[in-house]
Structures are given as C-alpha cells and as structure tokens.
C-alpha cells in the first residue's frame, strides 16, 4: 500500500513537473483579438489531469487536446461563453479557474466585497469615536503641544 502510494505520488510528480514548458504549438490566428481570446481561455482552464496547471502551461496530452479544441471552436466563430460551456459539459465545473457565480459560490465572490464595505464602516466608526475622544480629553492648546512633540520625535 505504501509502495503504491509512493508510486502514485511519483507518477503525479512526473505528470505535474514533467509538464514544464508545455504547449508550445504553432498556431495561426486571423487577428490579434482572437489570439488574445485564445490565450485568455487557455489560461483560465485547468488541466483535469495535472495537479494544478492551466491547460496552456501543461504538457499533458489532454491539455493539448483541449487547446486544440479551443482553437477549433474559436475558428468556428464560437463565443467565449459557448466555448466554456462546451468544455464544462465534458469536463465539469472543475476546469474553470474562474468559478461561475452560482449559489454555492456566492460566499466566494460576496465575502471580499462585503468585507470592503464592513472595513469602510469600521474605519468611519472608529475614527469618529477617536476624534471625539481626543476632542474631549484635551484642550486645543494641549493638543497642539502634543502634536508638535510627537512629530518632532518622529523625524529625529
């Protein structure tokens, strides 16, 4: 069992690392926009076989097949969404590095945005509280003196 695991790990290593510098293919594009779309699409799809690589970085045969398919579909004039759907139908949501917004990913996309709002609130509330604290505690004259002292110390 342990041996099997080591072997499996080794195989994975070969797959993951042997893949270095994958995907050097000679492709012709009609226009630079399509070339950019090809790059973006292949960079945002995950190789289903490798440990964690985009299909444009990986040497695995399946990645080559997938790149080829992306290229074909682009040539056929399909839109990015259509191409993505085409791939997801076959390989699942797993291959999308940019997970779609759906009920199970609401938290993933929503939390950072919620945090920004929460952070802004915290800043506003804290500064308002602190501002009052300083206003109450010290007279204007004292404040000036302390101001001068702290800032002088800093630049010394």
């Amino acid at each position: 069992m342990a041996l099997m695991r080591t072997m499996a790990a080794l195989l994975l290593l070969v797959i993951a690392f042997g893949a270095a510098a994958g995907g050097i293919e000679l492709r012709e594009f009609d226009d630079p926009v399509m070339e950019k779309r090809y790059h973006d699409l292949t960079a945002s799809m995950r190789c289903p076989l490798c440990e964690n690589q985009a299909i444009n970085d990986s040497d695995a045969p399946i990645s080559a097949d997938m790149r080829e398919r992306v290229y074909q579909l682009l040539q056929e004039g399909q839109s990015d969404i259509e191409i993505i759907n085409h791939m997801v139908q076959r390989f699942g949501e797993y291959i999308l590095y940019n997970p779609r917004l759906e009920s199970r990913t609401y938290l993933l996309w929503g939390l950072p945005i919620a945090l920004v709002l929460l952070g802004a609130m915290v800043v506003v509330l804290m500064i308002r509280a602190r501002r009052n604290a300083s206003a109450k505690a010290l007279s204007a004259e004292e404040r000036q003196r302390i101001d001068a002292l702290t800032n002088r110390k800093r630049s010394s």
């Binding site: 270095a20 995950r46 440990e51 964690n52 940019n98 800043v123 602190r130």
Partner: protein
C-alpha cells in the same frame, strides 16, 4: 566505527533536543506562575542546548547525504551518488523529512537568538517567551520523531546508488528559496511568543512593542525574499515564463506575508501612539498561525497544487493537530486576556493613525480573500457540494482593485503626521505629486506603445503616487539641513527603511503591470538557419546539438540574437534535458536578463523534420518584480538597524540587539539551508 553511527547520533540528538524543549516549555512558565527565579532561569540554557542538539542532528543528516549513506532511507530516496556535492548538501531539504528538520533547526535558531538578546526585558517576561518557544519546538520535534524521522534506516537491502533528487530541485533557486521562506515563517514565532507572553503576563506596554518590532521586521524581510526567490525560481525553471500562479503553496506563503505586513505597520502605531494594542497582538498570533497553516497545507497535500509533496495522511493529521492546538490555545488566551480598551488615543480623519488603520484593514481583506480562494474548493468538497477550482482569474479580479485602492492611501500614509493633520497642509504637500503621477501615468502607455491601456495607467499612477509624495517629503525634511547629505544623515534609519519598503512596493507594482500587459510571446518553428524577429530582436538558430551533462542528456539549440541591425549580438542556449535516473524530461530555458527586459527562449517539441517548436518571449520590466521585493526586504532590515533599538539594548550591556541580531540570523541561515517549500 563512529562514522557508521552518524544517523543514530543524529536521531539521539533529536531526542535530547526534544527533552530539552520539554523542559523549556514547562519550567520557565511554571516559574513565572509561581515566581520562582530558579525555575524561570531554565529557559535560556535550554534554548541554547536545544539549538546545539538540533544543529548536531542536522549536521548528521547532512553528513549522511555527503557520504552517500544509502542505508538511510531518506538519503536513498532523495539523493544519488552522481549528484554534485552542493546538490547533495541542498537535497537535505529537498524532501519532507529533511525540510521539517530544517524548519525545527531554524525554530531553535530563532529561539536561541531570542534568548541571547533579551536585553532589559523583565525576567518573568523572558521566561514566558522562552516557554512559548519551547512549546512550539516540542510540537515540531514530536512531529519529526513520530511521523517524519529522517534517520530511518533501510536495512537490509540498501540500494547501490540511491534514487535521485527531483531534477527540478537541482537548481540554485531551490537551494536558496526554501531556507529563506522558512526563516520568515519560523521567524514570526518570536513575535508570536512575545505576544503570548505579554498576554499571559498582562504586560502590553511600549517596551513590549519596542522588543517585538525588530524581530518582526527581520522575519518579514526573510519571508519577502523567500517569496520573491520562489517566484524567480518558478519563472526561470518551470519554463513558461510565469512568475506567480496563485497556487495554494504560493498562497500559503503569501498569507503570513500579508498579515505580517499588517503587523509591521500596526506595531508602528502601537509603539508610537500606544493604541491598537489588542489588534497588534492578534495580528502577531494570526501571522504565526498562518505560517503554521501554510506548513500544514503544503505538508499534508490537502490542497491540490503544482507542488506535490508529502501526501501522508498520518503526517497531515499530526500537523493539523499541532496547528489546531497552537491556534486555538493562543486565540483562547487572547480572548480571555486581551486588554480592555482603557483610554482611547484620539486621532483625526487625516492622520497617520487613521491611514495605518486603513492599511491594516486592506491587508486583512486581502488575507481573507486569499485564504477564502485557497480553501474554498476544499470547503465545498467537504460539504459534498462538488469540486470547483479557484485560480488566477479570481484572485486577479479581486487583488488588482484592492491593491490600487490601497495605494491611494499608501501615498498619503507615508507623509501624513500622527494624530492629526490639516487638510490644506496635506494638499499643499501633495498636489504636485498627485498631478505629476496622474499625468505621467496616463501618458506612459501612449509613449511606450502608442496605445492607451487602462491597467498600465492604473499601475503607473499607483506606483508614482507612492513614490512622489515621499520624494517631496525627503526634500522637505532635508531642506533646512546645511547640505543634502547632512539632511539625509539626520533622518533616522527607520524612516529610510519605510521609504525603501514603500519604494519597493512601487517598483514591484511597475514590474507586475508592465510585464503582464506588454509581454510578447511567439511560438515559432525553428531549424538551423531560421531567423525570427520578436520585439526588435533577431533570433537566428545557428546550430542544433546534443550534449551529455553530469546526470542528463540534452538537445541544445544555439541561437544568435541581435538587436536591430547594429546591436551587439549574443548567444542563447535553450535545452531540452532528459534526466537519466528518473527518465524525466525537463526544459531548460535560455534567459537574457536585463533591467528593462528579459529575453526568454524555451524549446518545445521536436517537430520531426529537423526543426523544433520554440517559444520566444520578450518580458519587459520583469526583473522589477523581484527588485522591488529586495528593496522591501532591505527596507525592513534597515529599520531594524535604527538607533533606538540599539540604545535600549545598550542600557543592559547586552550585545547590540538589532545589528547583532541581523548577523546572527544570517549565520544561522548559512549553516542551515533548507528544504523544499
């Protein structure tokens, strides 16, 4: 024969170190609780002894590698008699067991350093710091001895030559990247121990922050360099020219860096103004906890990642327990002992305090975002909600706007006064810088490429907005001095550290922006005689040869490269290697580095008719990425050297904390190169 017993000596040394760590974990804390000076005094000698014995163990393992002792399983699996000596040396940390040993060695090293420079800290505080460090050490030594013993023998039936070190790890980058990264990870254990000790003793005063700051800066600087080295290594070694993949392993190192950065800033507020105390302590705990979590994520293989390491569930379980106990206990201590808000230190909207608060909030949001993206697939999977991937598009979509927003405040923060500053003073100080940043930033893409690009403009404006106000500030501060140089000298090292750190951020931002938007990549078919032009450079393949290296066979192509018609011409030699011991193919890229552009050539497949598919890339400003990181780290070290830390130490006739501390770290690290990250 003593030489045959080297692994056993190492093993035995580890056991002794564990016992000493156990004493260190128990006695000083018990002593501090019961006020017994004798018990408290156990801490420092135990830290020294533990360091010595782990050093012995580490030396023994290194010796086993150097002597090709393939009866040691670890050596047999990860080294080869054909390996050059320096890779044998670094192969020690090219595997799980060795890297955990190095981790512990560094932990003991930081503990040792901390025990030397205790300066004028109260005795019970020192005792508690030592106790906490001891506990962490106990955890890791137990981990080694119970699940990851590097000294296990393969007897009978030892192999003749050993397997091999993964060819990817046979490289200078991998020799230096993990030790640096680990120095950073582990370095945060010191400030963590300080934080817990302060909570236990109920002593969160200015002396505490003053003590914690240099250690934090130093660990942060190591981590910064470690991350940069990892990125640089991936760039030239993996062969497709990427430098950051948002891979879980990379994210694991970024997380403590982000909270560590927040900690560096919040410590500044706590020291200067006495506010944010609980917050600072929480950050110290979080940073080390995230370092531990990073270790867990990497070592357990719980997340799929391009770095496939040790996937042993028993190890994963052990280190998870270690993580859970450490973090839960420290958060509990925090929850129960965090000081109440006694008095509010006032500050105004426009004040350095407020801006540092904003900085901390941004960094925390970034941390949560990275953490969320990293563990989200795992969480969905354990809830049975299917497997998804979260990768670069997600992180970039959130990180770019967050960084730009943060830069707005960063530009203000470095020149604002503490407590309060009148808006018109600030505007007077900044308007010119603001206008200049906007104008240059917006024009830059037009001048550079003749086409406007929003992202490039955003990046350049952000970078200039960080740098220009500081230039103005330095000018203002030195204006009244007799000469510019005298003025420069009058400013404190801590100030220069801040300036350098921020300039480093700006430089990195420029690098990221330019290389992401103006990278040129062409895949071409080449055979001897072919010439292709990329970004004004002519690449001519003159020869295609085969060669035999120490432990590999290679197809080499030789390219003559010339810029335009007039420029000097130089040679580039990309290779496709086949490593003999493992049969692994590897791409060895040819790089022509430059401050403003890199040329990057990788060989792809043999196309059969004597020609090869090649990838030629022109990468403008890519060096700025790592240059910026180096500047940041240098800034951190400079701040450590500030006079005021030395002054504190000098009062106790202890060696100079800051400067000496720095050199000690360096020498520890020289003796202790480590394992794969």
């Amino acid at each position: 024969m003593l030489i045959k017993l080297i692994p056993e000596i190492g093993h035995f040394a580890l056991i002794i170190a564990l016992l000493m760590a156990a004493v260190q974990a128990v006695m000083p804390l018990a002593g501090a609780a019961t006020r017994r000076p004798l018990w408290m005094a156990y801490g420092q000698p135990m830290a020294v002894g533990q360091f010595v014995f782990i050093a012995i163990a580490y030396a023994c393992l290194t010796a086993s590698y150097m002597l090709d002792d393939f009866s040691v399983a670890n050596v047999a699996n990860n080294s080869n008699s054909l390996l050059p000596w320096y890779y044998k040396f670094s192969a020690v940390w090219g595997n799980h067991e060795g890297s955990v040993l190095l981790w512990s060695f560094m932990l003991a090293g930081w503990g040792f350093a901390a025990s030397l420079f205790t300066g004028n800290l109260p005795r019970d505080m020192v005792a508690r710091v030592m106790g906490v460090m001891g506990m962490v050490c106990v955890g890791f030594l137990l981990f080694i001895l119970m699940t990851s013993n590097p000294f296990e023998r393969l007897l009978p039936g030892m192999p003749q030559d050993g397997a091999d070190l993964n060819p990817l790890l046979q490289d200078f980058g991998l020799v230096v990247h993990p030790p640096m990264l680990y120095m950073g990870y582990v370095g945060f254990s010191v400030v963590f121990a300080f934080a817990i000790a302060a909570l236990m003793g109920g002593r969160l005063d200015a002396a505490w922050t003053r003590w914690a700051r240099p250690w934090t800066n130093l660990a942060w600087a190591f981590l910064t360099v470690g991350i940069a080295l990892g990125s640089w290594w991936a760039y030239y070694e993996l062969g497709w020219g990427g430098w950051w993949f948002w891979d879980p392993v990379e994210n694991a190192s970024l997380l403590p860096w982000l909270t560590g950065t927040a900690l560096v800033h919040s410590l500044a507020v706590t020291e200067k103004r006495g506010s944010f105390k609980s917050w600072t302590v929480l950050l110290a705990i979080s940073t080390f906890s995230l370092s531990l979590m990073g270790t867990f994520l990497v070592r357990s293989g719980v997340l799929t990642s391009v770095h496939a390491f040790a996937n042993d569930p028993a190890r994963g379980f052990f280190i998870l327990m270690l993580l859970a106990i450490t973090v839960t206990l420290s958060l509990l201590v925090f929850a129960l002992r965090a000081p109440r808000v006694s008095h509010k230190v006032g500050f105004n909207w426009l004040s350095r305090d407020a801006l540092l608060l904003v900085n901390n909030i941004f960094l925390v949001i970034m941390t949560v975002t990275v953490l969320l993206g990293t563990v989200y697939p795992l969480i969905l999977d354990s809830l049975g909600l299917g497997k998804i991937s979260v990768g670069p598009p997600y992180f970039n979509a959130l990180f770019v706007p967050l960084t730009v927003l943060m830069c707005i405040f960063m530009g203000l923060g470095s020149v604002t006064r503490w407590k309060s500053m009148a808006a018109r003073d600030l505007i007077r100080k900044l308007w010119l810088a603001g206008v200049a940043a906007l104008v240059i930033g917006i024009l830059m893409p037009l001048l550079y490429r003749g086409e406007w690009n929003l992202f490039v403009s955003l990046g350049i404006v952000s970078a200039l907005w960080i740098v220009l106000p500081m230039v103005r500030d330095v000018f203002d501060k030195t204006r009244h001095a007799s000469s510019f140089l005298a003025g420069v000298r009058k400013l404190s090292l801590a100030y220069w550290g801040m300036v350098l750190g921020h300039v480093g951020v700006a430089v990195t931002i420029v690098g990221v922006t330019v290389v992401s938007n103006y990278n040129i990549e062409r895949n071409v078919r080449m055979s001897p005689g072919t010439t292709v032009e990329v970004a004004g450079y002519q690449f001519t393949m003159t020869e295609l040869t085969e060669r035999r290296g120490a432990n590999f066979l290679a197809d080499t192509s030789i390219l003559q490269v010339q810029r335009g018609d007039s420029g000097r011409s130089f040679t580039m030699r990309p290779e496709k290697r086949l490593y003999l011991a493992t049969g692994m193919p590897m791409t060895q890229v040819a790089l022509r580095p430059g401050l403003f552009r890199d040329l990057y050539v990788a060989m792809g497949e043999n196309l059969g008719d004597g020609s090869w598919a090649m990838r030629v890339q022109y990468k403008p400003f890519v060096r700025w990425l790592w240059l910026g990181a180096l500047l940041m780290a240098f800034g951190g070290v400079l701040a450590v050297l500030d006079k005021r830390y030395r002054r504190t130490a000098a009062t106790r006739e202890a060696p100079k904390v800051a400067s000496q501390g720095g050199s000690t770290q360096n020498s520890t690290q020289n003796g202790a190169r480590e394992a794969t990250a």
